[in-house]
Symmetry: C2
Subunit: 378 residues, 2 copies
């Protein structure tokens, strides 16, 4: 259950109680697509990085190692040795972005696995069944994620179908949560707002799904091709129609600035592959701006990435050393860089929470909204 | 300085005092070629894996990031944040195995970098200068490592030249250790016995280098194509001519059984890429035999790799989970597997030391000499 502890403007400081503990919001969820964080970060490491929620992927885990196997091993928590909350996305996004030969019908989607081309069908019921086998804390509804921009008529038709799918997800989850063999009988369901970049479709969609009284609401279909200003505009348009007593999750977003801006607009949950993906190419976030470690000027720089940072990489290693490791393609270089960026994102939301608790979020927001996106000058 | 604390048969329990602490022998040195252990293992992790000595590579670090850079950063210890002993191999092996367009003269070797084809010259003096810049605890002499089998006349000529190179290494190191800008003025030099698979050449070479009163003696040019029995035979032939009060290092060897057999024949130091290389393909060592984690039978196996093992991987994760990670090519899978194998090797030499201390090495040897090489039956 979600409780708003405090607000400042539209920004919310909250607490979300679920089957695997209580999540302090705003929160950044750390993406471990295949049941593991990219960059060689283990579940054990995640705890040191202040991670509150791990996010895994229904589509990937269904294909490999298979959700039945994970069910047999006692669910994803036991499989990964992670006892805090896990959110699983529904597979919708990956079915539409990774697989080939898609055919969408009212029933669901026929597609070919990106691993071996195997023909697979996934609809709302199948997605819920897989997520029930994974036994995640929060399951996401099965939706169609439309690329931006897309024609009005297609988006309208698609987002209406996604609502019908959501109703089926809710029914199927209720059934699954009542079965004796279900591992997490308290699994929660978040619905996903769609509607592309069309204000009226977004609002209509949001109003309808709000009536379903779900455990949380996500804004999906953003950060998929549109301009950042359009993304902020859609949040501004949708947010007034989101239930205030339910958590709000902006899917797949984004840069530290995007997160700050979205919190300022009333969002509570985030996830993004950016911290780990950028890190693997030497792009690091610091409290004074971004750095690209591959830059020649860091070759003999004995300082940590960010001198104020308490992450395991900054506590122990220099820019010079990690730069060498990344250029030499040593796995530990990527590991240290990913470690730092995840810690940075988790600390960012921690500092946002502290600012909200202390009643100075607005000045925090004004101070960092530009700095975080700029390149570090040193 | 090396002290033999105890012997049992030809096996020796010793202590080696050097600039960065005291090494308990027999010891397995953990290979971090480019200043990092493969599989995303950091210097910080190494301590948890009971590693006593880290081994880095002169050739690789000279090419990238450059030994001058590492010197400017305060030496390899500071660069890697590793305060225990480091041994650097001389680059000889890599010059002969990795680079192309080699031309050997009395002065040294002209070759082309395997990274960018750049023409480089390395002789005994250059190798010592690079290792002095790296400021390792122990430098290895610059040698030619001949593939087995090779013609008698070539091996004879080559090993005689390697002795002349060794004399030049010793002279150059003495000069470097006396310079004010040298970071580790107590750097030690190990000579390398060569002579291919020819008993008389091996013995003659060993006798000559023993007279140079070096800090330690390695047997090189083994595990490079010859049968295992020939390797054991060469150790048996050379060992009686190695100074008893100096450490003995069998380079690049080998399996757990090879190590046990070589300790039984009087060897003190080991290094090998096998634990990390095998781990990356799911091949793990246990106290009950080897396992290949990719085998289907481990797909739903909830047990750790080795139920008696105290490594971070075995304490936290199942065969099933790590098998999935390795098959999905997740870096953390390789990390956990490498972690286990390195811990196993370090624990193997620890248990060998305990057996020597307790006076039961012979029965330990008889018990494990076969088990360790077999496939685990479970």
């Amino acid at each position: 259950m979600f409780k708003v502890l405090k607000t400042e403007g539209r920004a919310r400081r909250g607490e979300f109680a679920c089957a695997h503990g209580t999540v302090q919001t705003p929160v950044f969820m750390n993406v471990g697509t295949q049941g593991a964080i990219k960059g060689g970060v283990s579940a054990h490491d995640l705890k040191e990085l202040k991670c509150q929620v791990e996010l895994s992927n229904t589509y990937h885990l269904h294909l490999r190692p298979g959700d039945r196997l994970i069910h047999n091993m006692g669910g994803l928590h036991k499989f990964m040795n992670w006892d805090k909350p896990i959110l699983t996305d529904s597979g919708g996004f990956q079915v539409f972005s990774l697989s080939s030969l898609r055919k969408i019908t009212e029933a669901g989607v026929h597609f070919a696995s990106h691993i071996d081309g195997k023909r697979i069908f996934m609809g709302p019921e199948e997605s819920m069944q897989i997520q029930s086998n994974l036994a995640s804390t929060i399951a996401m509804a099965f939706d169609e994620c439309v690329e931006n921009p897309a024609p009005y008529d297609y988006v309208k038709q698609s987002s209406e179908r996604t609502i019908r799918w959501l109703v089926r997800c809710k029914t199927e989850m209720a059934r699954l949560n009542s079965l004796p063999e279900t591992i997490n009988k308290k699994q929660m369901l978040f619905g996903i707002n769609q509607g592309g970049t069309y204000d009226d479709l977004r609002v209509e969609n949001m109003k309808q799904i709000a009536e379903l009284d779900l455990d949380g609401y996500a804004i999906g279909g953003l950060a998929v091709g549109e301009e950042t200003e359009i993304m902020y505009h859609i949040i501004d348009v949708v947010e007034p129609h989101m239930p205030t007593h339910k958590p709000r999750y902006l899917m797949g977003v984004g840069t530290p600035c995007n997160i700050l801006e979205a919190v300022h607009r009333g969002v509570d949950f985030f996830d993004c592959v950016m911290p780990s993906r950028n890190a693997r190419h030497g792009n690091l976030f610091t409290w004074h701006g971004k750095i690209n470690l591959c830059n020649e000027k860091y070759a003999e720089d004995p300082r940590p990435f960010d001198s104020g940072c308490g992450c395991p990489a900054c506590r122990n290693y220099s820019r010079s050393y990690v730069r060498h490791l990344i250029k030499a393609k040593e796995a530990v270089g990527m590991h240290l860089a990913v470690t730092h960026n995840l810690y940075f994102y988790n600390e960012l939301t921690e500092k946002i929470r502290e600012a909200l608790d202390g009643g100075y979020f607005e000045s925090f927001y004004q101070k960092y909204r530009n700095i975080l996106g700029e390149r570090l000058q040193d």
